[in-house]
């Protein structure tokens, strides 16, 4: 398991290659990359700054990965989340999940992202033509995480 909070960019290809390195038991790697958009809530976004809670962030991400690993049989997980100032088009977050089969990899990747959006202590502040604004949490993100609890 690899969990990193960093200001630098990341390379999806390099991360996936590192997961595969030296092993032949992995049958599937599902990955997600979240990007900074140039538009949100009807206004242009010139840049965003991501703040986090050092210490709790790493714990919260590890807990999400543990929850996924207790639900599906996973062979490896990488989560990288950037902080600091990002421009439209910049990658923000990477989740990559290795498993024997695609079903576990797809499901665990989506599960980790859904819970990351509601549990990991990151906050986005956007620079818009009308000034800086903190992004408000979305009810749809809570709903996305809650559906994993349904029978």
């Amino acid at each position: 398991m690899r969990i990193v909070v960093q200001s630098d960019a990341f390379d999806l290809g390099a991360e996936v290659d590192a997961m595969r390195q030296g092993r032949t038991d992995i049958g599937a790697i599902a990955s997600f990359v979240g990007l900074a958009r140039d538009m949100n809530d009807g206004s242009g976004v010139a840049a965003m700054t991501l703040e986090h809670y050092p210490g709790m962030t790493e714990k919260a991400l590890a807990r999400l990965v543990d929850a996924a690993a207790s639900r599906w049989t996973l062979l490896d997980v990488t989560v990288i989340h950037r902080v600091g100032r990002l421009l439209p088009g910049d990658p923000i977050v990477l989740v990559a999940v290795a498993a024997s089969h695609r079903g576990e990899a797809f499901a665990a990747c989506e599960f980790i992202m859904d819970y990351l959006k509601t549990q990991a202590p990151f906050w986005k502040k956007e620079e818009t033509p009308a000034g800086d604004r903190w992004v408000e949490a979305r009810a749809s993100d809570d709903a996305a995480a809650a559906r994993w609890n349904q029978p």
Partner: protein, 83 residues
């Protein structure tokens, strides 16, 4: 008891403080929120019921009825927006 209290994101900006150490006579997270809210101004606006916030104790999100241990690190912040 003594608490180390941290504020993040919009709350840090509105309160004008990132962290403080408090002598606290209450028991629960809700008691602490009541003490802070009583400061008035932005404290009352943000914590007085109109806006959502979260409380973490020793880096775990808790419900407001959670008891606060002495020397706890308590963080108060808006609902998270990462990813």
């Amino acid at each position: 008891m003594r608490l180390h209290v941290l504020y993040f994101a919009r709350l840090r900006e509105r309160f004008g403080v990132a962290e403080e150490t408090l002598d606290f006579a209450g028991t629960t997270a809700a008691d602490l929120v009541a003490v802070l809210q009583a400061r008035g101004g932005a404290w009352a606006e943000e914590l007085g019921g109109g806006r959502a916030f979260r409380v973490a104790v020793n880096q775990d999100i808790v419900a407001l009825d959670a008891a606060l241990p002495d020397q706890a690190e308590v963080a108060i912040f808006p609902p998270v927006t990462g990813g």
